[in-house]
């Protein structure tokens, strides 16, 4: 069964960058269930498509990543969420993890770092 992934980022460039990497042969087969540009969209897609894994930006319009992680932990507790953010301070990462994130990847990232982080998230 394919892993179901949702990508959440307000930058189309980043969304596409992550999506392109899904075909990397080191990763298990992945079914991309949606791309969301903000927290509200992410919640709506997550509720209907029930992804197993989510990559989550933090700074986004409408609903930011932290609030979205908090809501997802309530409505979709089985999903594993990896924060992908340019906010590199420890406080932000700790806060995201305590809200329910399972991984953290700093922007900018290399393809290698993205694949490694996704493998870790899916392990």
């Amino acid at each position: 069964m394919k892993a179901r992934l949702l990508i959440v980022d307000d930058s189309m460039v980043i969304r596409n960058l992550i999506a392109r990497q899904m075909l990397d042969e080191r990763l298990p087969p992945i079914d991309l269930v949606g791309l969301a540009g903000d927290g509200e969209q992410a919640l709506a897609i997550a509720m209907s498509r029930k992804p197993d894994f989510i990559t989550m930006d933090l700074t986004m319009p409408n609903m930011d990543g932290e609030a979205c992680i908090e809501r997802l932990a309530e409505v979709l507790p089985g999903a594993r969420i990896m924060v992908v953010s340019a906010l590199s301070d420890k406080t932000t990462a700790l806060r995201a993890i305590s809200k329910g994130a399972h991984g953290f990847l700093h922007k900018p990232f290399s393809e290698e770092q993205l694949v490694a982080a996704l493998l870790e998230l899916m392990s």
Binding site: K90, T91, A93, L94, R95, I97, S98, H102, G103, F104, E120
Partner: protein, 686 residues
Amino acid sequence: MPLLHTLLRGKYRVLVFAVAAFFLVSVGVYTLNYVLLQSVERDAKSINEGGKLRGYSQQLAKAVLTLSHESAAGEPVQTSQAQISEAYQAFDLALAEVQAFAAASQDGPALELADKLDRQWQPLRDAAIAVLASATPDRDAIDSAVTLSNTRNVRLLQLADDLTHEQERLAGDRTRSMRVLQSGAIAVALLMFAFIVVHVARRLSRSDREAGQARRETTDILRTVREGLFLIDRNGTIGTQRSEHLARVFPHPLAPGENFLVTLAALVTPDTMDSARQYIGLLLNERVKPALLADLNPLQRVQLAQPGGSRPKYLSFSFQPVRGDVGTGITGMLVAVADVSQEVRLERELADAEERARSEVALLLDVLDKDPADVRRFIDDARAKLDGLNAALRDVAPDAGAYLTTVTKVFREVHSIKGEAAALAIGAVATQAHRFEDELGALRQRRTLTGNDLIPVATGIGHMLQELAKIDTVISRLAAFAQPAADAGARGSEMPPGEDGVLQSMQRIQRLALAVAADLDKKLRVETSIPHVGEIPEPVHRLLREGLPQLVRNAVVHGIEAAAERRRAGKHEEGRLRIELARSEDGSLELSVTDDGRGIDVHALRRRLTEDGHRPAEQVAAMSDRDVVATLFAPGVSTAATVSEHAGRGMGLDVVGALARETGARLKLASTPRAYTRFTLQWSPA
């Protein structure tokens, strides 16, 4: 059950088996005792029955004789018959008992004696029964009974005696066996008891030794380890064991039972503390992977609040979850603390050294394309100013007011040096002066200054002198390197200042203006106009060197607007700055700096004066516009919103004002809001 399981598998196993064996042996001894006592009781009864046989035999003989006499005398014989009946029945019973005992004992002689007894008894028994057949027994039966009684009684007595002796011998044998067995069993029990005592004592002694050894090793580790180590429970309560080094590393005593987080909160910033609580909470959370938190420790390198004046202290904390017995999960944390102040200082020094190395190369490149004479003059002037400041620091009167005046004076001079350095594009000095200004600015903000506050001022002056010395060294080396060319008649570095010098000054100023504009992202065109002005007196040269950079910088920073703002105001997006030096017909020299920027906003200036607290609001309100504008030339007034390397400290025009006074120039200012500002300095002919 778990307790039994633990006992049977653990170090107490041997002890448990020994106690069980001791118990079994004890039960065995008691059982054996019981059985042997029964046997002894039986023996006693048997001996007793043997004795009874003698009695019954004699009783029978006596009764038979009595019956014989009574019969002969014609007396009634019923009583004797009754006694005979009683005696022979009792003998029968006693003999049956004796036979049973003999059979039970399996003793040959006893069986034989019992058998003999039986054989001797039977004829007598039959004769006795015969005399009982009738109330008046016949004489023959009586005589037969008497005869048998006389002959058999002695024999029976002898056999009964023999049997009794045999039974006593048997009983004696059995008693001895019992004693041996009992003694043996007691010896075994005692041995086992001794084994248990010795084993327990050895076990306890070994445990004590091991515990003592473990305690000593733990103490050695805690005394020797070069980290502060201690344990906290899930709530942050500190445990009883800690390394000795902890007292040297951590600035507060951490008493057992105290809460570590409460103590730490007083030493770090609230933000760091919030992160630390979050981090520790996540470490204690079994669901969060430790790898996820590996790089997120907010206390990995943290500066502690130290009493004023102490060197900053940096500590590194690491936390290792502690798990209790199987199934209890994380019970607390092992905290390791190390003092990394030295490491941090070394890193900073290394970074500074790298920065210095970079700045020295930059310095070399900076001075390579400058006129050595200009650089030399700048160095000499700057040194003279800094030496003067050092002297002022030495002689300052010991009161807060004098300290503030001195700091302000240092600030002004350093600002002036920065301006000149920037004009000459000697970035290293300009940057250092800017940093020094930051420190001086912070001092000026204080209400009361003490003598100690002047120490960093003296240090800062020292650093600037060092920086100047480096440039001096560089240009001396360059000069030595270029000596042959100089000897060949090239322009010397001691050429007196003249119009050429003025032209070069203007070019530098033009470069400075463009550099400042580029830094601030402003578009700028600089025009200079220097018709033939003849000889320039030294005071004017000084103003061109020290004051003009301030005026130009002031115009670019405060006057010229950003391109977008200029477009909105309907102006060309490229600002215009015009610098003119001219001699009028009456021989006076006039230097003017004009920008087509936003002009001077008197209202903003008034507001700033009030907000900065330089003057009471009522006084500011009562001032005329002219007086308000005049404050631009007082120390510490600026209309820039932020401090940058270029402006905003409110010190540039103060320098210009002071220079104007010192060089005898007349300073004029003309401005129209949103149109232009012009500063003019005028020197009357000597």
